[in-house]
């Protein structure tokens, strides 16, 4: 019989190191999400713009980003860009790779959210002579955000679960730290289990949080300042 010898002492010994690496994971996810939301919004608006050249270019750019593996993009940014004189820290590289990659996915969410707003809202805005900018900012986006929340949240959780890919460029996130601990102590069971549990806990918490945001998001009175 295979004996599973779970060592609690070892758990308590390595947990602080893994938790401290969790901060890096969460930071990368947080910054990556912010960037993804900005990139997604810009892509979505460009794809609705008046210039056909821009629309088509952005479409193919997004298609390219979504159809190539995240790891390839990470490697490209980390190993190839320095040849063009742009070298960045692993965290910075990770945030940009995650942000742009998931931004391409989020732009579709944002686009369908924007298109879900009643056409009459555009017509009323036009009749009142609002500029496109004010129409988006004051009329369309405040109504589009609520329906966008669940899908956006799911992509952010998916991004969070992709952060171990950043270990490939030596970012000391959770999985990388667990692997180092494992190889130093010749024990992989506890560190990897802890990492798995932490991912589970954070994901469940995030899913709950997103659900709460969606539930409490005001139907009325919401505006973008």
């Amino acid at each position: 019989m295979i004996e599973l010898n779970w060592d609690w002492t070892f758990v308590w010994q390595v947990l602080p190191m893994i938790l401290s690496a969790a901060k890096v994971t969460l930071l990368a996810t947080f910054l990556g999400s912010l960037l993804a939301i900005c990139v997604g919004l810009i892509f979505a608006l460009l794809r609705r713009g008046s210039s056909k050249t821009v629309r088509v270019t952005v479409y193919w750019l997004m298609e390219f980003i979504r159809s190539t593996p995240l790891l390839v993009q990470i490697f490209f940014l980390y190993y190839v860009m320095p040849e063009f004189g742009l070298s960045m820290s692993p965290l910075m590289t990770g945030v940009i790779a995650l942000g742009v990659h998931y931004g391409a996915y989020l732009s579709e969410v944002f686009r369908s959210g924007i298109e879900g707003v009643d056409k009459g809202q555009w017509e009323a805005s036009r009749a009142l002579n609002l500029t496109s900018f004010d129409t988006y900012k004051d009329i369309i986006l405040p109504q589009a955000i609520r329906p966008m929340i669940p899908a956006t949240g799911n992509y952010i959780i998916a991004m969070f679960k992709e952060t171990p890919q950043l270990s490939a460029i030596t970012l000391l996130e959770m999985l990388q730290v667990a692997k180092i601990i494992g190889s130093e102590n010749f024990r992989y069971l506890e560190p990897f289990t802890l990492v798995g549990i932490l991912y589970l806990v954070f994901s469940v918490l995030a899913a709950y949080g997103i659900h709460q945001i969606e539930k409490r998001f005001p139907k009325e009175g919401f505006s973008l300042k």
Binding site: G120, R126, L128, N129, D138, I139
Partner: protein, 257 residues
């Protein structure tokens, strides 16, 4: 005779293969109240939507207050209007919609102050004072802080009218403003328009199915069918003694005469 405030000259409009207007010409004088009646699909609403720049045209010219709406002069030639030109032209026009199109996430007051503040650069205080006066005018002074979804259809449409008036348009376009309302709510909306017609000098262009109202309020009634004005004249003539067979048939069906 003074220059008409609205003039359509040989206008063409198509939706795909469907021709709405083919060589359509039409004039409205300043401060004239014109009702457009006719069967659905005859191009009545399209006429208003073209004026409000919600739809483009495929040929011809439209002048509003002496300036071309869809074209502008550039190096002595008429070229398609830029956004800037359209923006300037829209200052003349206001529109009230069949389905209200109020902004559901904003209070009634904010619905009315949004455009004056953003477009005309009014201070919040000035915009709110004017909004309160307009709400008084449409009998909704107590609803300033309500949201559209808490209002009845008639109340929503009165807010729609106040919102359009807040931009002080010279021309008010009313697109079947009572068609989406329960019958008992129609009068409260029409009363507002009656008062406006009496108290203020406006050019008003209304598409309506309320025949009695059209007869009462209009200086001129145009009967539309298949993108053409079949018959037009003072309400008395159109409603009491229509000359054209199609007008007669339409009015008979509508008024059950």
């Amino acid at each position: 005779m003074s220059q008409p405030i609205i003039e359509f000259k040989n206008v063409q409009k198509r939706f795909g293969d469907t021709t709405i207007f083919d060589d359509f010409s039409f004039k409205v004088e300043e401060n004239e109240i014109v009702s457009i009646i006719g069967p659905s699909g005859s191009g009545k609403s399209t006429l208003l939507r073209i004026l409000m720049t919600l739809e483009g045209i495929d040929g011809g010219y439209i002048n509003v207050a002496g300036e071309s709406l869809w074209h502008m002069l550039w190096n002595d030639r008429y070229v398609p209007a830029s956004n800037k030109h359209l923006h300037k032209m829209r200052e003349q026009l206001g529109m009230v919609f069949q389905h209200f199109n109020l902004f559901p996430h904003m209070t009634v007051k904010r619905n009315i102050t949004e455009a004056p503040m953003r477009v005309k650069g009014l201070s919040r205080q000035d915009a709110e004072e004017s909004a309160e006066a307009l709400l008084e005018l449409v009998g909704l002074a107590d609803k300033a802080e309500s949201y559209p979804n808490d209002l009845s259809g008639g109340q929503k449409q009165r807010v729609g009218i106040a919102r359009a008036l807040a931009m002080r348009p010279a021309i008010l376009l009313l697109d079947e403003i009572t068609s989406a309302l329960d019958p008992e709510l129609v009068d409260e909306v029409l009363d507002v328009i009656r008062n406006l017609a009496k108290e203020q000098s406006f050019t008003m262009l209304l598409v309506t199915h309320e025949m009695y109202f059209a007869r009462e309020i209009s200086d001129r009634v145009c009967f539309f069918d298949k993108g053409k004005i079949v018959e037009e004249g003072v309400p008395e003539d159109i409603f009491s003694a229509p000359r054209e067979e199609r007008t007669q048939a339409f009015l008979n069906a509508y008024l059950g005469q």
